[in-house]
């Protein structure tokens, strides 16, 4: 399996004058960006008709580096902005980059309702289990008992599972991987981009600066290894379940892949009927 060289990515997809990124040493956001661009390249998506939308957070800085239209909105609002972009010009490919806080905390409701509406956008959520940009506060995804700057005695709130939520609310495509799964990530992002309707790809990513440091998880390398160990592929998981076994590990893999009429299709249909 061969990968293309970075020079193609840099030349074709990046705003060179914006590099280097503001991300910390070993931050996983850069990896997810890299994977996403490779997926786009593979699909030969026209960057003139692609809009990257984001909220506020480290992860939300991604669109600033990508050479396409970009909409760096407000904290939590990326999906609502993206809904406007997509509905107003359905020709555009709309891709949202969002952090777990941006998507799941302040932005939780927009996430929910865009799924419900089945707006045809792809949301890539970089889940680093913490608020990176503001320096390491608890996120809705932070595991129980984890240390953050606002849970100095350990987190007592049950974390939310964004992908499971997306699944239950009815997103037609949902996948979760970690930065330690580049190939799978790229392949899922490709599928997501090809899906008509709301597609969601969650990528667990290391934030060594905040989450790693506060929870003594070592550097990016250590964290990446930890991801491998603390996750289980859905296929394996389902087998386990069938065998009556359970696990604490986080399920990764392709969680949903169905067909479902999206908002634009439905809207155009009834507009058509009106004429």
């Amino acid at each position: 399996m061969g990968f293309i060289s970075n020079d193609i990515i840099i030349e074709k997809y990046l705003r060179k004058d914006m590099l280097p990124t503001i991300f910390c040493t070993g931050c996983g956001i850069g990896s997810v960006m890299n994977y996403a661009l490779r997926a786009i390249h593979d699909l030969n998506i026209d960057m003139n008709e692609t809009v990257f939308v984001s909220g506020i957070g480290c992860s939300s800085r991604v669109p600033g580096y990508i050479y396409s239209d970009g909409l760096h909105s407000l904290h939590g609002r990326a999906i609502a902005y993206a809904t406007g972009v997509k509905l107003a010009n359905p020709k555009l490919k709309v891709i949202v980059f969002t952090g777990d806080g941006d998507c799941g905390a302040i932005g939780g409701n927009h996430f929910l309702h865009a799924i419900r509406r089945n707006v045809d956008i792809t949301v890539i959520s970089i889940n680093n289990f913490i608020y990176g940009m503001t320096g390491g506060q608890v996120a809705p995804t932070t595991p129980l008992n984890s240390k953050t700057t606002t849970t100095p005695y350990g987190n007592i709130e049950y974390p939310i599972d964004l992908s499971m939520m997306a699944k239950v609310i009815g997103a037609p495509y949902v996948a979760r991987w970690t930065t330690a799964h580049p190939v799978q990530c790229i392949s899922s992002i490709k599928k997501a981009l090809q899906k008509t309707g709301f597609s969601f790809v969650e990528v667990l990513a290391p934030c060594p600066t905040s989450y790693g440091r506060l929870n003594k998880m070592g550097n990016t390398l250590d964290m990446t290894k930890h991801f491998k160990e603390s996750t289980i592929n859905i296929k394996l998981y389902e087998k386990m379940l069938a065998d009556g076994k359970t696990t604490d590990k986080m399920v990764i893999g392709e969680l949903v892949d169905i067909e479902k009429e999206d908002f634009n299709t439905k809207y155009n249909k009834f507009c058509g009927e009106l004429k």
Partner: protein, 388 residues
């Protein structure tokens, strides 16, 4: 487009309410995206849009709340589609963060605020003019919006078109300040003749994507408004609410970049004050007392001024049509011969502040507030005039 709309609307003389007039105005102005959330007394705007948009190839979407509504409107406007939302006080308060975004990123949009009694949920079905200061100062940080206030259903239609024009011309959110009274007031409305409707579009990029800088001004004009390349046009624009340079990229620790940007955002509007600032006046020539009003309140004010004139009082009237920006110089000029100014408002005194600021101590400025829902009667205003 406009043509089609006027044809679609059919019969030229309508008997419609203010909320409907805002809908028709928007349709005529080529608004083709509406995202909103119901709230008394603005709901009828959304309902009208839900009815019309699908017929005109536009999009109506009811979002999960007001924040999502204005967010979607901004997103839609980035694609070059004229976009609008409508709400009332509680929703307007919720929209403030995004309104600041639209100011900062220079994304045109029109926000209809059909004012009801506040603060808070207050009096949902009663009229008020309690959000006029908020319209100017509601979001954090220095900025400049445009706000317009019509006095009749006909003018609601006309000013909605104008709101879109100003928004596109200056790339700034424009707030149309209605109130529950006018929003639900029905009057005869004459649709404009197709040929008479002026519909502006934001200035498109005049140079190629390679040279284009989204926030550089002065490509082809001296104006401080940058040219616009919609999403999907190949210009690959980056839009952010962070302080950005002319390329649109975040530069958040440079005082110079910030100052240049924020000053321009304000000056692009204020420099054109003479064009933007609409007003109407009556009997000013020899007026010693001047009543200043806006919106619905102007109707009893004009009645009162006419009555007072009949009894020989030298009283005039100024109606503010453009509420913000406030034209301090022009107002100073208009008011220079008055000895007393009376400002009836359906709030406890808001526009009276910039008016006092304009004229200082020499001229007596009387605030004539009325709250609770009922609009001023002509007699109440007349009494204020007669007491002077």
């Amino acid at each position: 487009m406009t043509n089609d709309v006027i044809r679609l609307l059919g019969r030229k003389d309508l008997f419609i309410q203010g909320d409907d007039a805002a809908v028709y105005g928007a349709l005529i102005a080529d608004c083709r995206f509406f995202a909103g959330y119901p709230i008394t007394p603005a709901t009828e705007v959304a309902e009208g849009m839900a009815l019309w948009m699908p017929k005109l190839g536009g999009v109506y979407v009811q979002m999960e709340d007001e924040i999502a509504s204005i967010a979607a409107v901004i997103g839609a406007s980035c694609t070059g589609v004229k976009s609008m939302t409508a709400t009332s006080g509680p929703g307007f308060s919720l929209m403030q963060e995004c309104i600041g975004y639209a100011c900062m990123a220079e994304i045109p949009c029109v926000i209809v605020n059909v004012q009801r009694g506040g603060p808070s949920t207050g009096q949902p079905t009663e009229a008020a003019q309690g959000d006029v200061m908020q319209a100017m100062w509601g979001t954090h940080g220095d900025h400049q919006i445009i706000a317009l206030a019509p006095k009749s259903v006909q003018e609601t239609l006309d000013l909605t078109i104008e709101a879109f024009n100003l928004s596109e011309d200056y790339r700034v959110p424009v707030i149309l300040l209605l109130d529950a009274e006018i929003g639900h007031m029905r009057e005869k409305v004459v649709l404009p003749e197709v040929v008479n409707v002026k519909v502006d579009e934001r200035v498109p990029a005049t140079i190629g994507p390679d040279k284009y800088r989204p926030y550089r001004t002065g490509f082809t004009r001296t104006s401080k408004v940058p040219e616009f390349a919609p999403f999907g046009s190949g210009y690959r624009t980056y839009v952010t609410g962070l302080t950005h340079d002319k390329r649109g990229f975040p530069v958040t620790t440079s005082a110079d970049v910030h100052e240049e940007l924020v000053r321009r955002l304000i000056e692009k509007v204020q420099d054109d004050m003479d064009v933007i600032w609409y007003h109407e006046d009556l009997f000013l020539d020899d007026a010693e007392i001047i009543v200043i009003s806006y919106g619905t309140t102007s109707r009893p004010a004009v009645s009162a001024v006419k009555m007072a004139r009949k009894s020989g009082i030298k009283v005039g009237h100024i109606r503010l049509i453009t509420i913000w920006p406030f034209h301090y110089e022009k107002m100073k000029e208009l008011l220079k011969n008055a000895h007393t100014i009376i400002v009836p408002e359906m709030n406890l005194g808001q526009m009276v502040h910039p008016i006092r600021e304009t004229v200082g101590k020499d001229i007596k400025v009387i605030s004539a507030p009325k709250i609770g829902g009922a609009i001023h009667t002509p007699y109440e205003i007349l009494k204020c005039i007669e007491e002077e």
